[in-house]
C-alpha cells in the first residue's frame, strides 16, 4: 500500500515537474522585451535618464515619450555633460534605473551645482520653460513629434543620456517608456521535463509493483476471507491435512477424495511423504503448485516462465509472512470445491475422464459429502461461480476455435494475459501430483511445462488452462 501511495505521489510529482518545466518555457516564459515606464515627478518639462540607463537591459533600446495630446515632445540623446548643461538649472525628473522589470525609478533632478566657468547656467535658468532641445548641435540622436515621440538608440561606450522634453508653453514632462529586447532562455525546461519523466517512471514502477503485490495479497485474502466461514478455511488446511494427516480418512474428508484418493493409487503411501518432504519439498511443491497453474493453463512454453517469475516473487513475499498461504494448493482446493459441485452436476466435464481411473467409489463417496460443503461455498462467493461460468463459456469458445487461432494466441501469449480467473479446481486434481514420488514429480513437471497436456488438452485443456490465467492475470 505504501509503495502504491509513494508511486502515485512520485508520478504526480513527476507530472508536476514536467508541467512546471513546460510552463517555465511557455506560460511563464519571460517576454522577449522588457518594457519599463517612468512617470515624471515634480515640476519641469524634462525627463532625463541617468548614464547607463539606456543600456540597462540590452544595447538596443526604443524610447517613446508621451505627453498630453497635441503637445510637442522632443527626445534627444547626448553626452551627460551636454544634456545636464542644456538643462542648466531647470527642474527635471531623473530616471535612475529599474525599480522592477516594469517600472523605472524616478527622482526629482537636483539642480547641479554650477561648475566653474559655466557662465551660461544662469542664462539657461532664465530660459522659458518648455524649451525645445531639438536642433542643438550636441545631440547624437533626436526626434520630435506631437503627442508622442519614439527614438531608437543603440548603446555605445560613454555616458549617454536621454533627454525627453515637453515643448511649448505650459508643457508637461512626458512619460517615458523604454523597451529593450531580451534574449530569453528556458533553462528549466529540459531539466524539469527530464526529472519529471524519471519521477513518473519511478513512480509508475513503484505503483505497478505495489499494485501487483496488493492484488496478489488481495487474491489471497478473499480466499481466506470469504472462506473464513468454513470452506476456504478448511480448504486452506486441507492439503496440509490431506498431506500431513496421513490422508487416511480420505473418505471422510471431503477434499481428500479428489486430491488424495485420486492419486492414492499412483502413490502407494501418500501418508509418508508429507512428514518428510513437507519442508524439503515445500519449495518444489510451491513451484509445482505455481507452475501447475501456469503451464497447464497456458498450454504454451512462455507462460510457465511468467508463472514462475510471478510465483517466485509471490513466494518471496508470502513466504516470510504466511508460510501456510505459500502453499498455493491451499487456495486451489477452495477453488475447485465449487467446480467440484459443478462437476458433479455435469459429469460430462472434460476432466472427469482423467479422474476416471480412480475407483468409482471415490466419486461415489465424494459427491455426497462434498456437495454440502461446496454448495455453501458457491453460495457465499457467487462471483466464483460466475467466473467459472465465464471461463467455461470461454473454454467452449476456445475449443470451438480452430487450432490456428489458438496457436496464434499461444504465440502472442495473449490468452494468459487476458483470461479471467478460472476455476482453480480442475487443475488441482489433474496436477495435484504427488511430488513425493518421482512419477508424481515428473507428472508435475510435465504439467508445468505443458508436456503431455496437449493430447489430453484437446479435451481437458480448456478447463485446465484456467487456473494459470487466473494467476497470470
Amino acid at each position: 500500500m505504501l509503495q502504491r501511495i509513494l508511486g502515485g505521489v512520485l508520478v504526480l510529482l513527476g507530472l508536476v515537474a514536467v508541467a512546471l518545466g513546460v510552463a517555465s518555457a511557455t506560460v511563464w516564459r519571460d517576454s522577449d522585451t522588457v518594457v519599463a515606464t517612468a512617470e515624471p515627478v515634480g515640476d519641469g518639462t524634462m525627463v532625463v535618464t541617468d548614464p547607463g540607463v539606456l543600456g540597462l537591459v540590452s544595447g538596443d533600446v526604443t524610447v517613446s515619450a508621451k505627453g498630453p495630446e497635441g503637445q510637442p515632445v522632443t527626445l534627444v540623446v547626448g553626452r551627460d555633460v551636454d544634456v545636464l548643461g542644456w538643462i542648466g538649472k531647470d527642474p527635471y525628473s531623473r530616471v535612475t534605473g529599474l525599480e522592477d522589470w516594469d517600472t523605472l525609478g524616478v527622482e526629482a533632478g537636483a539642480a547641479e551645482e554650477t561648475p566653474k566657468g559655466e557662465k551660461d547656467a544662469e542664462k539657461s535658468a532664465a530660459a522659458p520653460s518648455g524649451a525645445d532641445p531639438a536642433g542643438n548641435d550636441m545631440w547624437v540622436a533626436q526626434t520630435s513629434d506631437d503627442g508622442s515621440a519614439t527614438l531608437r538608440w543603440s548603446d555605445r561606450p560613454g555616458r549617454w543620456t536621454l533627454l525627453a522634453a515637453g515643448v511649448g508653453k505650459d508643457a508637461q514632462a512626458p512619460t517615458l517608456e523604454l523597451t529593450w529586447p531580451r534574449t530569453v532562455t528556458t533553462p528549466y525546461l529540459w531539466p524539469a521535463v527530464g526529472a519529471g519523466a524519471v519521477l513518473v517512471v519511478l513512480g509508475g514502477l513503484l505503483f505497478v509493483l505495489g499494485t501487483r503485490r496488493a492484488r496478489s495479497r488481495r487474491d489471497d485474502a478473499p480466499r481466506r476471507g470469504t472462506g473464513a466461514a468454513s470452506p476456504t478455511g478448511t480448504a486452506a488446511e486441507g492439503p496440509d491435512a490431506a498431506a500431513g494427516d496421513d490422508a487416511a480418512p480420505a473418505g471422510t474428508n471431503p477434499f481428500v477424495p479428489v486430491g488424495a484418493t485420486a492419486w492414492s493409487p499412483a502413490s502407494d503411501t501418500p501418508s509418508d511423504t508429507p512428514s518428510d518432504g513437507s519442508d524439503g519439498s515445500s519449495d518444489l511443491e510451491a513451484d509445482a503448485a505455481s507452475d501447475e497453474d501456469g503451464p497447464s493453463g497456458s498450454g504454451t512454453a512462455e507462460v510457465p516462465m511468467a508463472g514462475r517469475l510471478l510465483r517466485r516473487s509471490r513466494r518471496r513475499s508470502a513466504a516470510p509472512q504466511e508460510p501456510d498461504a505459500a502453499a498455493v494448493p491451499d487456495a486451489a482446493p477452495a477453488g475447485w470445491a465449487a467446480p467440484g459441485a459443478d462437476a458433479a452436476a455435469d459429469p460430462a466435464t472434460a476432466w472427469s475422464p482423467a479422474v476416471a481411473p480412480v475407483p468409482a467409489e471415490a466419486p461415489a463417496d465424494a459427491p455426497a459429502p462434498s456437495a454440502p460443503e461446496a454448495r455453501p461455498a458457491t453460495g457465499a462467493t457467487p462471483h466464483l461461480s460466475r467466473r467459472e461460468l465465464r471461463a467455461q463459456e470461454e473454454a467452449r469458445r476456445a475449443a470451438e476455435q480452430g487450432g490456428v487461432t489458438r496457436m496464434l494466441r499461444a504465440i502472442t501469449g495473449s490468452i494468459p494475459a487476458v483470461r479471467p480467473q478460472a476455476p482453480d479446481a480442475p487443475a488441482a486434481p489433474a496436477q495435484d501430483h504427488d511430488l513425493s514420488t518421482p512419477a508424481g514429480r515428473a507428472a508435475a513437471w510435465r504439467a508445468t511445462w505443458g508436456f503431455g497436456q496437449t493430447p489430453g488438452g484437446g479435451s481437458a485443456g480448456p478447463d485446465d488452462h484456467r487456473p494459470t490465467d487466473g494467476e497470470n492475470r
Partner: protein, 338 residues
C-alpha cells in the same frame, strides 16, 4: 525495499522542491545602470562638426543670396558677424557681392575641443576656394549649452603658411585660456604684441623680434597700404597725414592647443586709419569698400576707416625655439567716416 523506496521518494520529493525553488528564483534581480567612463574626448564627433559646418554654410549662403545681414545671426556671431554683416551691406549698396569673402564649407581638417563647459570653440581648416584662394581657418563657437555652434571668426591663411599640427578630431584638442602661461606669450599678450607690430610695422615695433613675420602678413599689408597712401602723388603737397592704429580686443580671443604644446590663437583687432589732408583738400575713399561704406557723404579733408581684423597666430610653447607666427588674417573695413 520499502525503506529504500521511501528514501528514493524522499529524494525525488526534495528534488522537486529544489526545482520549484529554482523556478521561483528565476525572477532575476533587475540590472543596475552602469555609468560608463566620463567623456574626455571631443565634444563633437567629426560628423556633428561637419553638420555644424554645413548648417553654418547654408545659413551664410542664404544670407549672402538675400544680402540680409540679419539672416546671419542664427549661425554667425562675434567678429565674424560684424565683418560679414558689413560685407553684405557693402555688397548690397554696391549691388555686387564679389567682395564678400567666400568661405568653403568643405573642411580639410577639424579641430574639436574637449571642453566640458561653455563656451566651446571648434575650428575648421577649409579647402581652397574655387578661385584657388588660400584656405580659410574658421572658428565656431557654442556660447552656451542651448546655443548653436556659430561661426565666430575666419581668416584667410597666408600663402605657403605651415599650419601647426593639431590633435586628431577624434581625440580632441584642449582649449587654452587667454591668460595661459605655458606659451611663449599668453594668447592675450601675443595678440597685443601683434597689434603693435601691425600698427608700427616690423621695423619699428619692439615686439617684432618675437615674431616670425612672413611677407604677406597683415603687418606688411597695413604698412604697405600706408606706404601706398603716403606715396600717393600730391600726398606730401597736401600736407597729408596717415595714421593707422590697431589694437587687440580683450574678449575676442580663442585659443586651442596644438600638438606640439603651442597654441593656435584667434582674435580680433580693431583697426583705425586716419587720413587727413590740408583744409581745402578732399580725401576720396581708396577702395570700393570704403566708398560703399562712406555712402553719399560728401568728401572732406579727412577720412577715417575702421577695420575689424580677424587674425590667427601660432604661439609656440614656452620652451620652444620658435617664434610667434601669423597664420592668416582677414582685413576688412567695416566703417568709414569723414
Amino acid at each position: 525495499m520499502n525503506r529504500r523506496t521511501t528514501r528514493r521518494g524522499l529524494a525525488a520529493v526534495s528534488a522537486v522542491v529544489v526545482g520549484s525553488v529554482l523556478l521561483a528564483g528565476c525572477t532575476e534581480d533587475v540590472p543596475q545602470p552602469q555609468a560608463g567612463e566620463p567623456f574626455d574626448g571631443p565634444v563633437l564627433t567629426e560628423e556633428q562638426e561637419t553638420k555644424v559646418l554645413s548648417a553654418v554654410s547654408s545659413t551664410v549662403q542664404k544670407a549672402d543670396k538675400k544680402l540680409d545681414p540679419a539672416a546671419l545671426k542664427s549661425r554667425v556671431t562675434g567678429p565674424a558677424l560684424e565683418v560679414r554683416a558689413s560685407q553684405l551691406d557693402v555688397a548690397k549698396s554696391r549691388d555686387d557681392s564679389s567682395l564678400v569673402t567666400e568661405i568653403p564649407d568643405e573642411s580639410q581638417q577639424l579641430v574639436i575641443p574637449t571642453t566640458s563647459t561653455w563656451p566651446r570653440t571648434s575650428y575648421s581648416i577649409t579647402v581652397p576656394t574655387e578661385d584657388l584662394e588660400t584656405p580659410r581657418l574658421v572658428a565656431f563657437e557654442q556660447d552656451s549649452a542651448r546655443a548653436a555652434y556659430k561661426m565666430w571668426s575666419w581668416v584667410q591663411l597666408l600663402p605657403g603658411v605651415v599650419m601647426p599640427a593639431f590633435a586628431d578630431a577624434g581625440i580632441g584638442s584642449e582649449a587654452v585660456a587667454s591668460d595661459d602661461d605655458s606659451l611663449a606669450a599668453t594668447p592675450a599678450d601675443a595678440l597685443n604684441q601683434y597689434a603693435d607690430v601691425v600698427t608700427l610695422g616690423s621695423e619699428e615695433s619692439s615686439f617684432a623680434k618675437g615674431f616670425d613675420l612672413p611677407e604677406e602678413d597683415l603687418a606688411a599689408r597695413v604698412q604697405g597700404d600706408a606706404k601706398n597712401v603716403r606715396s600717393t602723388p600730391g600726398f606730401e603737397d597736401a600736407d597729408g597725414e596717415f595714421e593707422a592704429k590697431f589694437s587687440a580686443r580683450k574678449d575676442d580671443i580663442r585659443s586651442v592647443r596644438t600638438a606640439d604644446g603651442g597654441a593656435l590663437v584667434m582674435g580680433a583687432l580693431d583697426g583705425r586709419t586716419t587720413l587727413t589732408v590740408e583744409e581745402e583738400g578732399e580725401v576720396p575713399p581708396f577702395t570700393e569698400t570704403q566708398k560703399a561704406l562712406l555712402g553719399d557723404a560728401g568728401l572732406t579733408n579727412e577720412l577715417e576707416v575702421e577695420y575689424t581684423d580677424m587674425v590667427a597666430l601660432y604661439v609656440p610653447a614656452k620652451d620652444s625655439d620658435e617664434k610667434i607666427r601669423p597664420l592668416g588674417y582677414s582685413h576688412v573695413a567695416t566703417a568709414a567716416s569723414n
